[in-house]
């Protein structure tokens, strides 16, 4: 992790839908190589904020930079340097495993030869060789999830954005998934992940906690626990979230 290199920064980033302010003037930085947890209850504004960072949504006010490019004015340049994985693990269900890899790798500008080589590597690393020709819709959930993640970092982007990547998956699979995240971080890829699983918060370098559109806390899990005088991240979250007016 390189603390001197800031890959994501925002200043008073805001998103309003009519009278409703989903994201309210958030300001924060993320360092290169960091595993940054973006926490919050459902409805807190996490996904909205992430969509702005990825260039999927236009900020109402405020500014942000991802990989050095402005998210409002240079979103297409931002997209060249990031990877993304959504809650739905959006791969094409009617395409085979290798076809999905090839599609997205090609979109990010990789050459056919490189794609072929890396695909082999990936399939063997994940133990997917026998599933190379399986349609994604036939894969079990945990495999889809791993594949989705691998596709999102296949082109070695600077940053990868993960939106609730472990929803609906059993704890053992989740832990395997986080192994993959660690490996990616070790290679220098910054990981920006939203989640509402508090135990996953412990795996991050730093976390921020959003409540009602505002970042109420931002620090390493160790410091946060000390700050709130509790033993686990759930308790940190609970103390903050009690104030929340939105969400479930």
């Amino acid at each position: 992790m390189n603390e001197n290199n800031i890959v994501i920064e925002t200043k008073d980033l805001t998103k309003r839908f009519g009278h409703f302010t989903a994201v309210d003037h958030i300001t924060f930085n993320v360092h290169e190589g960091e595993i940054f947890g973006f926490l919050g209850a459902n409805g807190a504004g996490k996904t909205t904020a992430m969509k702005m960072l990825c260039g999927l949504s236009k900020p109402t006010s405020g500014s942000g930079k991802v990989a050095g490019y402005d998210i409002g004015k240079q979103s297409e340049l931002v997209k060249r340097n990031i990877g993304y994985m959504s809650q739905k693990f959006s791969l094409y269900e009617d395409l085979k495993v290798w076809e999905n890899i090839r599609l997205f790798a090609g979109i990010y500008g990789m050459k056919d030869k490189d794609i072929a080589i890396k695909t082999e590597e990936l399939l063997s690393r994940l133990g997917f060789e026998s599933e190379r020709n399986t349609l994604v819709k036939s894969l079990p959930l945990g495999w889809k999830q791993k594949l989705s993640f691998s596709v999102s970092i296949f082109h070695e982007p600077k940053i990868v954005f993960l939106d609730e990547p472990t929803g609906g998956v059993d704890p053992a699979t989740r832990r395997q998934f986080w192994e993959l995240i660690y490996q990616a971080a070790d290679r220098g890829i910054t990981v920006f992940v939203t989640t509402h699983y508090m135990d996953e918060a412990e795996y991050c370098n730093r976390v921020s906690i959003m409540v009602d559109g505002v970042i109420e806390a931002l620090d390493s899990p160790v410091n946060l626990k000390k700050q709130f005088g509790v033993n686990g991240m759930e308790d940190v979250f609970y103390k903050l979230a009690r104030k929340a007016k939105r969400g479930e």
């Binding site: 990825c54 260039g55 999927l56 949504s57 236009k58 979103s75 297409e76 997209k79 060249r80 990031i82 993304y84 959504s86 739905k88 959006s90 791969l91 094409y92 269900e93 009617d94 395409l95 076809e99 090839r102 599609l103 997205f104 090609g106 979109i107 990010y108 500008g109 349609l135 954005f161």
Partner: protein, 371 residues
């Protein structure tokens, strides 16, 4: 980059369980079946006769009507009321009532009356039935006049105009020749209009579109990659139709197929572009389908396929100026029947090109990667 997208589109279409069969099967079925149905000629009119005269003349008249080929004698009723019941039941379309004094009146006074009653719920049919029958009666008059009346001395020659009719391009006035090129247009429109419309919306519904939006894929690439498969499908469908038209109906184009293919390129691009515009602006597949269906219906009705554009009121004719189908149908019919070439179709080609540019620009602009 676009090559990967195009690969994906093709694979998805081919792998779908329903689509490939639809693309091949639908045109075949429609081409084989519809031309037999789409026929506005009026034939086999059900005639009910009430003959109160029972004379040689009346019988000859009825004979003449039946042998004309337009009519089918369904019954001979004893009274007019009975015949009316026939119409009400739907068994008869037109009644000819010959009065009791028919023959006597003709021989003694030189003129007689009779009654033709037509069911005009179908206005065209009713009108045509009664005029066919009236014409037959006129003919009959001439027939018996020649036999019975002394020919006037040859001194005075009544000036007559002899009329010779010739129907160009479709000498036998075969309705199929008129309909089949137009049917091809419909098939092309339905397949190349509906399918792209559903395409983008289905990606929206599944969520894969978000994954694309987050990549550096440009709007242009995305749209073009979606269009190209439909372009190719369009050609495939058209070729199948040409083949069937020739094999099954013996209808081959008088002009060059190249002209049609060229205009078809433009037309399919225009229609697919329109489909994509609808897709971009719909949230669910049902919405897309409905909007498309609505426009398709209006465009097909106001295209000159079923009824001539010249017969429409001014406001409708103005609307047809903005209807791509109209121009392509004109092209199809002109090339198939009249042998028109690209030179003569300048106006249509120009209009189609405008549509291509308009719809596809709109499709690209309305596709938003960012909301």
């Amino acid at each position: 980059m676009i090559k990967y997208l195009i690969e994906k589109e093709f694979k998805q279409i081919l792998r779908d369980s329903f689509l490939p069969r639809l693309i091949i099967g639908y045109p075949i079925i429609m081409m084989l079946v519809l031309p037999w149905a789409a026929n506005l000629e009026i034939k086999n009119i059900n005639l009910s006769v009430v003959d109160n005269n029972h004379s040689q003349y009346s019988r000859q008249l009825v004979q003449k009507a039946v042998s004309s080929g337009y009519f089918r004698l369904t019954d001979i009723s004893y009274s007019y009321d009975e015949a009316i019941k026939s119409i009400e039941k739907g068994d008869a379309d037109v009644i000819m009532e010959i009065p009791a004094n028919f023959e006597q009146d003709l021989v003694k006074q030189g003129n007689a009356k009779l009654l033709i009653t037509a069911n005009t719920v179908n206005g065209t049919k009713g009108g045509l039935s009664s005029s066919y029958l009236s014409n037959i009666v006129m003919d009959f008059t001439t027939d018996i006049k020649d036999k019975w009346v002394q020919p006037v001395k040859a001194a005075s020659i009544t000036p007559t105009i002899k009329i010779v009719t010739q129907n160009r391009f479709n000498p036998h006035l075969d309705y199929k020749v008129f309909m089949i090129p137009a049917l091809m247009v419909i098939l092309l429109t339905v397949l190349c209009g509906f399918l792209p419309a559903l395409n983008i919306v289905s990606e929206k519904e599944k969520g894969t579109i978000e994954q694309i939006n987050v990549t550096p894929v440009s709007k242009l690439s995305f749209i073009v990659a979606k269009l190209i498969p439909y372009w190719i499908i369009g050609f495939l469908v058209l070729t199948i139709c040409f083949g069937l038209a020739a094999l099954v109906y013996g209808i081959t184009p008088t002009g060059h197929l190249i002209t049609i293919y060229f205009c078809a390129i433009l037309y399919v691009l225009a229609i697919s572009g329109f489909g994509l515009v609808i897709s971009n602006n719909s949230e669910t597949m049902q919405q897309a389908m409905f909007v498309m269906f609505f426009f398709m219906m209006v465009l097909i009705l106001l295209s000159g396929l079923f009824t001539p554009i010249n017969s429409m009121p001014q406001w409708a004719q103005t609307i047809t100026i903005f209807n791509p189908l109209k121009y392509f149908i004109q092209v199809m019919r002109a090339v198939y029947l009249k042998g028109s070439g690209i030179m003569e179709l300048g106006k249509q080609i120009f209009a189609l090109t405008l549509f291509v540019v308009f719809f596809n620009s709109w499709a690209i602009i309305s596709y938003r990667k960012k909301s």
